[in-house]
Amino acid sequence: MSLAFLTAAGGASAPAALSPFDAATTADGGVFEVRDGWRIASGFGHPAAEEQACEHAVGWADVSHLGKLEIQVSADAADELAGLAGGLALGRAVRDRDAWWCLLTPVRALLLCDPGVLAGLRQELEANAALKVLDVTSQFAALRIGGPLARETFARFCALDLRPERMPVGACMQGSVARTPGVVVRMATDQYVLLTGAALAIYLWSVVSDAGGRLGGRPVGVDALSAPSELEEAGTHA
């Protein structure tokens, strides 16, 4: 027996993985393509409007295909965990090896990465006997929310303090988002990635659409908000 059933099917003949937002993005007119084994909403048929939303209001893109690894250690190996990626710290997202490393508790970290680097990173981490590594990609729905009104959009359904002085670029915060547990990572001045449980994806999409829509925002394709973030540009290490 193994934990293979936790990882999405891979290989050329494998079925495409469906994002937990798939029903919602389909209903909203998503245009899809398969990348890295995932059916991804690359747009919603209105590229100019999507660009406009990201530039002047708010756009939100399904990025659930991002690889997610959970790393746990025993209490006496907490230093081992904190020493990863050049040094992890609570409340910070550290950019290292094409992944963001978020220390959620002293003994638990969450790693977000492009699907293409997931297997390599996992293998590398599993080589360290002190680390318990688990692929939790399917566990979380992920939204990238960006634009000048991104913070205002969050304010409609979330009481987390996302002001820049409290949550600068590269910060990571856990808390209640639309009355569900969530993790928010600030990727750039006006860009955030929001993680919630996969089963709550459709609910969350409706909440974000309602809140963001009233501010002139709209759903956007996965690339609309994928310009290199300040975090990526700076290669930020906390």
Partner: protein, 955 residues
């Protein structure tokens, strides 16, 4: 029309006429007008009828704080006409009067209803005979209330946006003090939000000729980056959260520092018929003239106890009113204003006040007299023809928010009111709310409060010392006379109102005091004084004065009522906000919808209850095969060298000796040995266990597991995989065949036995298969990544369709499991049920080496026969009892209950689970079920109705 020539700083735009209707008749005003200012300009003086006596009421405050001009607008009741702007086509309707505002038949309660409606009448007058109370109640309910809610639901709904706003400093109040505070704090680097209930900033300063200064202050505040919310009252102080209502948005503001600059509220005076239309606060009259260019009357008597009244008198005189001033102070304050009054040719009667208003339905005369300390007229006084009595009974600091936030107030005779003395950390008072009454002092105190708030955040408190010195050098507040509880000419006619909102009179408070309600809090509850829409703004001090006079206590001892939110009236709908109902959906939910499932709540999940044919679905499972989405099951991964020991300590049975690839059923119990959850435990490898829980129980189980893990310091890790792993149960005699067609795995009974776990690829997707069966048939639980779940579901349905497989929902599942007497924790068990009571004696391993949760309690329980046991039953007569129906003991007393009951299509009979007295828990025992008047005979069974030996399950 009483529109004045253009006033400096007026709010109306005369180039934009606006038409609206009042009670169906055309009315007009200008953009910027309020409903009251427009109607007033058109000659109307009566705007409402009072709550209890239906007396005509005119405008009082002019700023949206009193209850004298509440209207029904576009279906919404209780809209304040003196702050609500008019707009084209607006339909305004009066409320609380019938058939019309000018002729209200309920006025009879004022003329003849006195003996029937004394204070607290609803406790005394209409209670006998008791059988008539329902009739009285109906009539009273119909007569009471202000306005009517629309009957249609869609007309009662509106949308409110919640907006969470965190900031360094929240300034409440946009007058001179608030603007100065916000600007100073922002200039020192703080993130500042300022809110004000008025649509136009500036507060009193803007009305009293300082509009240019207001513009300057507002500009500075905006330049400093202050976020300004106007037309946005702060509703209350909830442990640091301040909700600010602005139109369709409710800002939930959390700030590190709060500056309260809510100003002061001009107080009315109490004398006979002090509610006649035309009796108005002098500040209200002045506001009508200054902000809306409306002449509030032709001839005014201004009765005052402070300089503000004198200042207002000068302003009213300046716009053309013929003014007489009655100042209660013997020397009219002795300051410059008294001199200006005289210089303007205005009659100034010192030591005088108004003792009676006269007129039929509006003010026609004022009786003015010199009064003694208790307010009794000394002599006959003089009568003055007038159409306006403008009163200034001193100012009461608007302290409610400060007090809600933990501030304390004491009575200060020199201001004839209460002032804040102690403020908790992070709270600052400024302006009139802090006791400053002169414009310059108000502004400087604001700047100090802003700087102090910034300093508390670690910013440099630049200039605070200088500002404090400057404030100390400013002239002291002008003297104020304490108004009597009631100024009276000794006549018996006329009502003297303490609370206009609730029609509470001086006589009412006196009578309540005689009846023993001799504290302000008691009096409030008995007379309802201060409980109206104004929330005591205009009645708290007058009521306290009456109570002090009656009890002989000083005002400081009488005190104030407890300040509670909301400080401003707010529609309930505003508090509701966006409905955030976090619904979980499985990864194959879309398929359920496509299949036309009846979707219902199951805990926090949306689940397929059935697909339209629950009977057919259950039959299909037993005849061929069925598939049910059980992704909602809790799924925990427990890993680490101590994982087995951890589970041994958490479950009453053994888990550490479970072989890899094997599954064991388990229940968890509380420390009291009561069942808390159940599920299966599957061992994946030496250090890894896969634990399933009930759908609703996973959060609690994970919390409990994690808590005990930390407590015991074991080396293991717990991860909740519930939402990332989909699960579906393939069951039925054809299940093996369907599965075999989808995988290379040897699914034979020999290779893949009951309670085995296997890894397999199904349609190319990595899955874990658990051979278990809640529905009692040969079955497999298929667990796979949720992102591939639709693909797996589709593959199984497609393959199974050849043999008659049907998706089945929760309802058929419940019937099928009941045939096996499989228990649903939470439905068939309650908080007192032990494994012994549930007939699971076998699961408790008291011979285990390890201590485990609930062991001590279970050892004791094992030594005694449980009082009730969970057993199966059938009803020979075929009646289906309601779940929750009572099971009777041998003596006919209730001793148990039906926990589950269904009609089984396969068995053709009613079956169920019930807790029954232990004496009746044997096979074949007859029990009686009492169910809403029915008595149903039932026969007990302890063995499953279907496949009692489990041969099908193990096949």
């Amino acid at each position: 029309m009483s529109r004045l020539a253009q006033q400096p700083g007026e709010r109306i735009d005369r180039s934009q006429p606006v038409s609206f209707t009042f009670d169906g008749k055309p009315a007009a005003g200008f953009a910027g007008d309020t409903i009251v200012s427009a109607l007033y300009a058109g000659g109307r003086r009566v705007f409402s009828r009072s709550f209890k006596y239906h007396r005509p009421r005119g405008e009082l405050c002019g700023c949206g704080q009193c209850a004298n001009s509440l209207f029904q607008i576009e279906g919404a009741p209780g809209i304040r006409g003196c702050s609500e702007p008019i707009r084209e086509g607006l339909r305004v309707v009066h409320q609380n009067a019938w058939p019309s505002l000018d002729f209200d038949v309920m006025r009879a309660t004022d003329r003849v209803g006195g003996p029937f409606t004394p204070v607290g009448f609803y406790y005394k007058t209409f209670i006998r005979p008791r059988r008539l109370w329902p009739v009285y109640e109906k009539v009273l309910r119909s007569a009471a209330g202000l306005g009517r809610l629309p009957r249609r639901q869609d007309e009662r709904e509106w949308e409110t946006e919640y907006r969470r706003r965190r900031c360094d400093v929240l300034v409440i109040g946009g007058g001179a003090a608030g603007l100065a505070a916000a600007t100073r704090a922002a200039e020192l680097g703080a993130d500042v939000v300022l809110c004000d209930e008025d649509a136009v900033l500036g507060g009193l300063l803007g009305i009293e000729g300082g509009h240019e200064r207001v513009r300057e202050l507002e500009g500075r505040a905006r330049d400093a980056g202050v976020e300004i919310l106007s037309g946005a009252p702060a509703l209350g102080f909830f442990d640091g959260l301040v909700p600010v209502w602005q139109g369709s948005t409710l800002h939930q503001v959390r700030a590190d520092q709060h500056v309260v600059a809510t100003g002061a509220i001009q107080q009315p005076l109490v004398f006979a018929d002090n509610d006649l239309p035309g009796v108005m606060l002098s500040g209200g009259a002045r506001r009508l003239a200054a902000a809306y260019a409306v002449k509030p009357g032709e001839r005014a008597v201004v009765a005052t106890v402070d300089d503000r009244g004198l200042d207002d008198a000068l302003a009213l005189s300046a716009v053309g009113l013929d003014v007489v001033v009655a100042d209660l102070r013997p020397d009219a304050g002795g300051g410059e204003l008294a001199g200006r009054i005289r210089a303007a040719g205005i009659t100034l009667l010192t030591g005088h006040t108004v003792v009676r208003a006269q007129g039929r339905d509006r003010v026609e005369r004022a009786v003015v007299a010199k009064v003694d300390a208790r307010g009794r007229a000394l002599g006959d006084g003089s009568t003055h023809d007038c159409d306006l009595i403008a009163v200034s009974g001193g100012s009461a600091g608007a302290l409610s928010l400060l007090l809600q936030a933990g501030g304390r107030a004491i009575y200060r005779p020199e201001i004839a009111g209460f002032a804040v003395t102690e403020l908790p950390a992070g709270l600052h008072a400024a302006g009139a709310a802090a006791g400053h009454d002169r414009a310059e002092a108000v502004e400087v105190s604001g700047a100090i409060a802003g700087a102090e708030a910034a300093a508390a955040l670690g910013r440099s408190p630049n200039g605070v010392a200088d500002a404090r010195e400057r404030l100390a050098q400013l002239p002291a507040a002008a003297p104020v006379a304490t108004p009597p509880a009631q100024a009276s000419d000794g006549g018996r006619r006329g009502k003297a109102f303490v609370d206009l909102d609730e029609d509470v009179t001086v006589k009412d408070i006196k009578r309540a005091t005689l009846e023993g309600y001799d504290s302000l809090e008691l009096s409030k509850r008995y007379t309802t004084v201060t409980m109206g829409p104004s929330q005591g703004r205009f009645s708290q001090l007058p009521a306290a004065r009456v109570l002090a006079a009656e009890t002989g206590l000083d005002l400081g001892t009488v005190g104030l009522t407890t300040a509670r939110p909301p400080w401003s009236t707010v529609p309930m709908g505003v508090l509701a906000g966006r409905p955030l109902e976090a619904a979980k959906r499985s990864a194959v939910h879309r398929r359920h919808e496509e299949l036309g499932a009846t979707v219902r709540w199951a805990g926090d999940w949306r689940r397929a209850y059935d697909y339209g044919d629950p009977v057919g679905e259950s039959v299909a499972v037993q005849a061929a095969a069925g598939i049910i989405d059980v992704s909602t099951l809790g799924k925990l991964l427990v890993r680490g060298p101590d994982a087995g020991e951890l589970l041994d300590r958490l479950y009453p049975n053994r888990m550490s000796n479970l072989a890899p690839d094997r599954i064991r059923y388990g229940v968890t119990t509380s420390e009291a040995g009561r069942i808390t959850d159940d599920g299966t435990v599957c061992r994946i490898d030496d250090e890894t266990f896969y634990v399933t829980t009930t759908s609703a129980g996973v959060a609690g189980v994970e919390q409990s597991f994690t808590w005990w893990l930390e407590t015991w310091g074991l080396n293991a890790h717990i991860t909740d995989l519930t939402q990332g792993v989909a699960a579906m149960n393939l069951a039925g005699p054809q299940a093996r065949g369907v599965l075999t067609g989808l995988t290379d795995l040897d699914c034979s009974a020999e290779a893949f036995k009951y309670l085995d776990a296997r890894h397999a690829e199904i349609a190319g997707v990595p899955c874990m298969l658990l051979r278990i069966g809640f529905v009692g048939e040969l079955g497999y639980e298929i667990h796979c990544p949720s992102v591939n779940a639709e693909h797996v579901w589709d593959a199984i349905v497609r393959a199974g369709s050849k043999v008659g497989l049907r998706p089945f929902g929760l309802e058929p599942q419940r019937v099928l499991r009941l045939q096996k007497l499989h228990v649903i924790v939470g439905q068939d068990t309650d908080s007192e049920m032990t494994p012994y009571g549930a007939g699971m004696d076998w699961i408790v391993k008291l011979d285990k080496q390890q201590d485990f949760i609930g062991r001590w309690a279970l050892e004791h329980t094992a030594a005694h026969e449980p009082s009730v046991r969970l057993v199966g039953f059938t009803t020979p007569g075929g009646e289906l009892p309601t779940e929750g129906a009572v099971v009777l003991g041998t003596d006919g007393a209730p001793e148990g209950q039906v926990t589950s009951a269904r009609r089984s299509p396969r068995l053709g009979q009613v079956i169920g689970l019930a807790t029954v007295p232990a004496a009746l828990a044997g096979d074949g025992a007859q029990i009686w079920i009492s169910d809403a008047g029915r008595r149903i005979a039932a026969t007990v069974t302890t063995k499953p109705f279907y496949d009692p030996e489990g041969e099908v399950l193990r096949s």
